[in-house]
C-alpha cells in the first residue's frame, strides 16, 4: 500500500480506537467503491436484457405485419369466351390460356369495378392499375377455374393479393417520400390505393397464406409463405427425435452403467465433450462430404438435414441423459440387485423409468436447439428455392427437397426487396413460437416429475 495521501493511518499499525458509530473517510471511499462495483453488475444485466428486449421488440414490430396482407375483394366475371375459347370445357384445351390471359381478365374487371364505384383514377394509367394486382393472383384464379370449369360465365367475388409495394403502403412501410424515388410505385398509385381502401375494395386481412404457401420468387414477396419450411422442419424434428433418442439413451446407458473405466471409455468421454463444442458449420461440411457426396443422398432433403442435426445434437443429449441417469440414487440399484435382478434388468426396469423425465426434458431442449440451427443446413443445400411441397412422410417425402424455418429466415433476409425483411421477421415469430412451446413442455415435464429422493 503506497497511498501517500492516506490520513487515517496511524503511526501504530494497529487500528485507531475510533468510534464504530462514525464512518472513517476511508470507509466512505470503500463503500463508494462497493456501490460502484454493484452498479457495474446491474449495468451489465441491464445491458444484456435491454438488448434482448430491443431485439424481440424490433422483430415483433417488423414481423407481426407479415401475418396480415393487403387483399383485393371485387366481383370478377369469368368470361367464358376468353378463358375457354373452344367452349368445350376440356381441361387440356383450357390450359392453353396462360396466367397472362387471366391477368388481363382480372385487370379489365378491376378497371370496370373502379368505374362502377366511381373511384377516380386520375393520373394512373390502366397499366399502373394492373400493377396493383400481385402476379400470384392470376395464377390462383386460373387454378381455381381449371379445378372447377362450371364457374365459367359466372360472376364471383374474388379475393387476391395486392403487390408488395401497395401492401407495404397499407402497413406504413412504404411512404410517399419513398414512392417518389421508387420506379416500381408512384404517388398517384398510392392516392388511388387510399381511395380503394375507403371503398372497402382493398383491405388488410389475416394472411393464412403466410403459414401455408410455399416460397415465392423475388418479385412476389406477397405470395411467399412458410408452408414448405414448416413441413421440412417438422420432418427433420421427427427424424432427429427418432434417431437421437435411442442412440443417445443407449450410449448414455453404456457409458454410465456398463463401461469399464479404461482408456477407450476415457477417449469416448473426452471426445463427447469436445464434439459438443465443435462449431455447427463443421457438421454441415461433414454432412456434405459423407451423406451427399459419398452416400449419394439427395441434396436439400430433410433426411440429410436430420442426419446432420442428429450428429450435432447427440453429444448434448448424451451429456443431459447421463446427468439424468446419474441422478438416480445408487440405493435403488442396490435394492434391485439385492433381490437378484441382473444388471441389465436393473437398468431397464428401474433406472431408465426413473430417469425418463430428465432424459425427455434434455431431449426436448436438444431438439429445440436443433430446430433453430441454420449454418449446417445451408451447406447441404436446404437454402435452395423450393416451390413444391414435399410428399407425405410415408411417400418418400423425407427425400424430397425442402427448406427449414431458420433457413427460410436467412434466405428471405438476404433478398433485395424490403418486403422480405418483414417476412423474415414474421418467420422468426413462428420459429420462436415453436421454441417457446417446446421449452414450456420441457419445463412442465421437469416440474411435474421432479423427483424427491
Amino acid at each position: 500500500m503506497t497511498d501517500a495521501t492516506a490520513t487515517t493511518s496511524p503511526q501504530n499499525p494497529a487500528r485507531p480506537a475510533a468510534s464504530l458509530l462514525q464512518q472513517t473517510d476511508r470507509m466512505k471511499r470503500r463503500n463508494a467503491a462497493e456501490a460502484r462495483f454493484k452498479a457495474y453488475g446491474v449495468a451489465a444485466i441491464c445491458l444484456s436484457l435491454s438488448v434482448l428486449f430491443i431485439m424481440l421488440w424490433t422483430i415483433f414490430s417488423d414481423g407481426l405485419s407479415a401475418f396480415r396482407q393487403a387483399t383485393f375483394s371485387f366481383p370478377v366475371t369469368l368470361d367464358a369466351e376468353r378463358l375457354d375459347p373452344n367452349g368445350n370445357r376440356q381441361r387440356d384445351e383450357m390450359m392453353r390460356v396462360t396466367t397472362i390471359g387471366y391477368g388481363g381478365l382480372l385487370n379489365d374487371n378491376l378497371i370496370a369495378y373502379l368505374a362502377e364505384r366511381g373511384i377516380a383514377t386520375d393520373g394512373v394509367t390502366d397499366k399502373e392499375i394492373a400493377a396493383f394486382i400481385s402476379r400470384d393472383t392470376p395464377a390462383r384464379l386460373r387454378f381455381m377455374v381449371l379445378e372447377d370449369p362450371s364457374l365459367l360465365g359466372q360472376t364471383i367475388r374474388f379475393e387476391g393479393y395486392a403487390t408488395g409495394r401497395i401492401d407495404g403502403y397499407l402497413k406504413g412501410r412504404v411512404t410517399r417520400e419513398i414512392a417518389e424515388l421508387d420506379v416500381n410505385v408512384s404517388v398517384a398509385q398510392l392516392d388511388l390505393a387510399d381511395r380503394m381502401v375507403e371503398d372497402g375494395l382493398l383491405s388488410l386481412k389475416f394472411n393464412w397464406g403466410f403459414l401455408t404457401n410455399p416460397d415465392a420468387s423475388d418479385q412476389r414477396p406477397e405470395a411467399s409463405g412458410l408452408g414448405v419450411a414448416m413441413i421440412g422442419s417438422a420432418y427433420m424434428m421427427l427424424l432427429v427425435a427418432l434417431m437421437v433418442l435411442p442412440l443417445g439413451v443407449s450410449a448414455s446407458i453404456y457409458l454410465e452403467e456398463f463401461a469399464p473405466k479404461n482408456r477407450w471409455t476415457d477417449l469416448i468421454e473426452v471426445n463427447i465433450s469436445n464434439l459438443a463444442a465443435v462449431p455447427s458449420i463443421v457438421y454441415g461440411i461433414l454432412g456434405l462430404a459423407i451423406f451427399i457426396n459419398f452416400a449419394q443422398f439427395p441434396q436439400s432433403s430433410p433426411l440429410v438435414g436430420a442426419l446432420v442435426l442428429t450428429l450435432m445434437t447427440l453429444p448434448t443429449i448424451i451429456i443431459a441423459t447421463r446427468a439424468a441417469i446419474r441422478a438416480v440414487p445408487p440405493s435403488i440399484r442396490d435394492a434391485a440387485m439385492g433381490v437378484g435382478a441382473s444388471k441389465m434388468q436393473v437398468v431397464f426396469h428401474h433406472v431408465l423409468p426413473l430417469a425418463a423425465p430428465g432424459i425427455l426434458t434434455g431431449t426436448i431442449l436438444g431438439l429445440a436447439s436443433a430446430l433453430g440451427e441454420t449454418a449446417p443446413l445451408l451447406l447441404i443445400g436446404m437454402v435452395a428455392f423450393v416451390a413444391n411441397y414435399p410428399a407425405g412422410p410415408l411417400d418418400g417425402g423425407i427425400l424430397d427437397p425442402a427448406t427449414a424455418l431458420p433457413v427460410q429466415v436467412y434466405s428471405w433476409a438476404s433478398r433485395a426487396d424490403p418486403a422480405f425483411i418483414e417476412r423474415s421477421a414474421g418467420a422468426i415469430i413462428v420459429l420462436l413460437a415453436f421454441l417457446l412451446i417446446m421449452n414450456i413442455v420441457a419445463i412442465v415435464l421437469r416440474r411435474r416429475f421432479e423427483r424427491r429422493w
Partner: protein
C-alpha cells in the same frame, strides 16, 4: 425385392422367431416356466434376435458392397486411359447410375415395357427425352457407351438384388433354425440376450467416435485434394483472397483469419466484462428472488437461434452503428462491419460466460468468503481479491470456450460482417471470416473438382483445428480447476 421390403420381411421372421423360441422353451419345460433357466420371454427374444440380426448384417454388407462390385465390372467396359483423372470416373459413374435408374423408373411408371427398356438404343431413341418424360433430367445426351454400361448396370443390379434376397432370407432361416435347435430348458437365454443388448449399447456409444473420425477424414481427404490443385503454402500464408470462376484464384487464408480474430476480439470485449459482472451480481449480490427472475431471462438469450441475432445485426445494429457512429466520425459507410458482428456475437455469448462463471464462482468454498468477510472486507473486495483469483483458472477456461464459440459462429457474421476479405484495422469496415467463406464457397451449384470449392474444406479443417485446440485446452483447464476444490 426392395431393401425396405426385405427388412419388413425380416421383422416378420423376428416375430415368428419370438413365438417359436418361447414355445419351444415352454414345451421343453412341459409348460412349467419355473423349470426354465430364464423367463420364457427371453427365449422368445433370443429367437427373434437370431432371426433378425445375422440376416440384417448380411443385408447391410451386401447393400454397401454391391455398388462397389458393379462399378468395378462396368469400369471394364471403358478404356483405361479415360480415367486418368479420378473425378472424371466419378462423374461418368454418376451418369451411368442416373441413366440406369431413369430407365428403371420409366419401366416402373409404365412409360416403357421391360422389353422396350432392354431394346433401347441411341440411334433410334432419344433416350434423354424419354427419360425426362418420367422426370429424370440428364445433363447431356446419352452416348452409346453410357447406354450400354447402363444396361449392364441394370442387369448386374437385377441379378444382385435377386441373390441379395435369397441370401438374406436363407441366413435368417438358418440362424432361426439353429436358435430353435439349441433352445432347451437349461439354456441361459437371458445372458445371451443381454450380451446382444450390451453389444448394441456399446455400438451406440461409438457413434460419437465415428462422428469425429468422419469429420476428420472427410475434411482431410478433401483438403488433400485441394492441396494437389493449389499450393498449400500459398493458402496458409497468402495475403489475398479473391476467388474467380476462370481459375488462377488467389486463396490466401490470412485475411479471413484476421477477420475472424478481429471479430472474436470485439465479441470478447463485449462478452467478458458483461458476462462476468452479470455472474458476479447474480452469485454474490442478487437476492434469491431477483436471481430466480433474472437468471432465466439471461438464459433466454442463449436459447434464441443465431439466425435471429443475424437478422437483428442486419436490420437494427448495423444501420444504427452506421448512422450514429461510423458516418458521423467518417470511419465507414457500411452497415455490415466488424463492430456490428462483434457486438452481437458478444451479447450472444454473455449467458454462456455468465452461467459458466456463476458455476465456477459457486464452486469457490464458502469458507474463503467467510475468511474475507471476517477480516472486514467488503463484498467487492472479497470478489476482486479472493473469489476471482481463486476462480481464475476456471474463468479463463470459460472465456476460451466462449472464444471458440465466437470463432465458429456462422450466421451472425454471414449476415452482419460483410463479405470482403481484407486486412484492415478499422472496425467499422466490412470484413469477412472463415465461416462466411465456407458458406459462400459451399452454397449454390458446386463442382467438387475445383480449388475454389475444395478450399472450403481446407478452411473447415483450419476452423476445426483452431476450435478443437481451444476446446481441449479450455476443458483441461476447467477440469483441473474443478479437481482443486473437490
Amino acid at each position: 425385392m426392395t431393401v425396405t421390403f426385405l427388412i419388413l420381411l425380416l421383422l416378420v421372421f423376428a416375430a415368428a422367431g419370438f413365438f417359436l423360441g418361447r414355445g419351444r422353451a415352454l414345451a421343453a419345460a412341459q409348460g412349467d416356466a419355473r423349470r426354465l433357466h430364464s423367463l420364457p420371454n427371453y427365449y422368445g427374444w433370443y429367437g427373434a434376435i437370431m432371426a433378425f440380426l445375422p440376416a440384417l448384417a448380411v443385408l447391410t454388407i451386401w447393400v454397401v458392397a454391391q455398388p462397389i462390385f458393379i462399378e468395378r465390372q462396368i469400369s471394364g467396359i471403358f478404356p483405361v486411359e479415360q480415367f486418368a483423372v479420378e473425378a472424371d470416373r466419378i462423374l461418368l459413374m454418376a451418369d451411368i447410375r442416373r441413366v440406369a435408374l431413369g430407365i428403371d423408373s420409366a419401366v416402373a411408371a409404365g412409360a416403357l415395357s421391360a422389353a422396350d427398356a432392354i431394346a433401347l438404343n441411341v440411334e433410334s431413341d432419344d433416350v434423354r427425352a424419354r427419360l425426362s418424360e418420367v422426370g429424370v433430367a440428364l445433363g447431356s445426351a446419352v452416348t452409346a457407351e453410357v447406354l450400354q454400361a447402363a444396361q449392364r448396370y441394370r442387369e448386374l443390379a437385377g441379378t444382385g438384388a435377386l441373390f441379395r434376397s435369397i441370401f438374406t432370407i436363407l441366413v435368417a432361416v438358418l440362424a432361426l433354425a439353429y436358435a430353435i435347435k439349441i433352445t432347451h430348458s437349461a439354456m441361459r437365454a437371458r445372458n445371451r440376450v443381454e450380451m446382444v443388448v450390451l453389444g448394441v449399447l456399446m455400438l451406440a456409444s461409438t457413434v460419437a467416435i465415428l462422428t469425429t473420425i468422419g469429420i476428420v477424414l472427410s475434411m482431410l481427404s478433401e483438403t488433400y485434394r485441394f492441396s494437389t490443385m493449389y499450393p498449400f503454402g500459398d493458402f496458409l500464408f497468402g495475403l489475398t483472397w479473391s476467388p474467380t470462376f476462370q481459375g488462377n484464384s488467389q486463396l490466401g487464408l490470412l485475411p479471413l483469419l484476421w477477420g475472424t480474430i478481429y471479430i472474436t476480439l470485439v465479441a470478447m470485449l463485449v462478452a467478458v466484462p458483461t458476462g462476468l459482472f452479470t455472474a458476479i451480481y447474480l452469485a454474490e449480490y442478487a437476492s434469491p428472488r431477483v436471481r430466480s427472475v433474472v437468471k432465466p431471462l439471461i438464459e433466454v438469450i442463449a436459447g434464441i437461434p443465431t439466425v435471429v441475432f443475424g437478422l437483428f445485426a442486419l436490420v437494427t445494429v448495423g444501420p444504427f452503428l452506421r448512422e450514429w457512429i461510423a458516418e458521423p466520425t467518417g470511419l465507414g459507410t457500411s452497415g455490415s462491419s466488424v463492430m456490428t458482428a462483434g457486438i452481437v456475437i458478444g451479447i450472444l455469448n454473455v449467458p454462456f460466460i455468465s452461467s459458466l462463471a456463476d458455476d465456477i464462482m459457486n464452486a469457490v468454498p464458502q469458507s474463503l468468503r467467510d475468511g474475507s468477510y471476517g477480516l472486514g472486507a467488503t463484498k467487492s473486495e472479497t470478489v476482486r481479491q479472493v473469489i476471482l483469483p481463486a476462480a481464475l483458472p476456471g474463468i479463463v477456461g470459460a472465456i476460451l470456450l466462449a472464444a471458440s464459440r465466437a470463432i465458429g459462429e456462422t450466421m451472425i457474421v454471414t449476415m452482419g460482417a460483410g463479405a470482403s476479405a481484407k486486412l484492415d484495422l478499422n472496425p467499422f469496415e466490412a470484413m469477412t471470416t472463415i465461416t462466411v467463406k465456407i458458406v459462400s464457397q459451399l452454397t449454390g451449384d458446386l463442382e467438387f473438382n475445383s480449388a475454389e470449392t475444395l478450399v472450403a474444406f481446407a478452411l473447415g479443417m483450419t476452423l476445426f483445428m483452431i476450435t478443437l485446440g481451444l476446446n481441449v485446452f479450455a476443458l483441461w483447464v476447467v477440469r483441473r480447476y474443478r479437481e482443486q476444490y473437490e
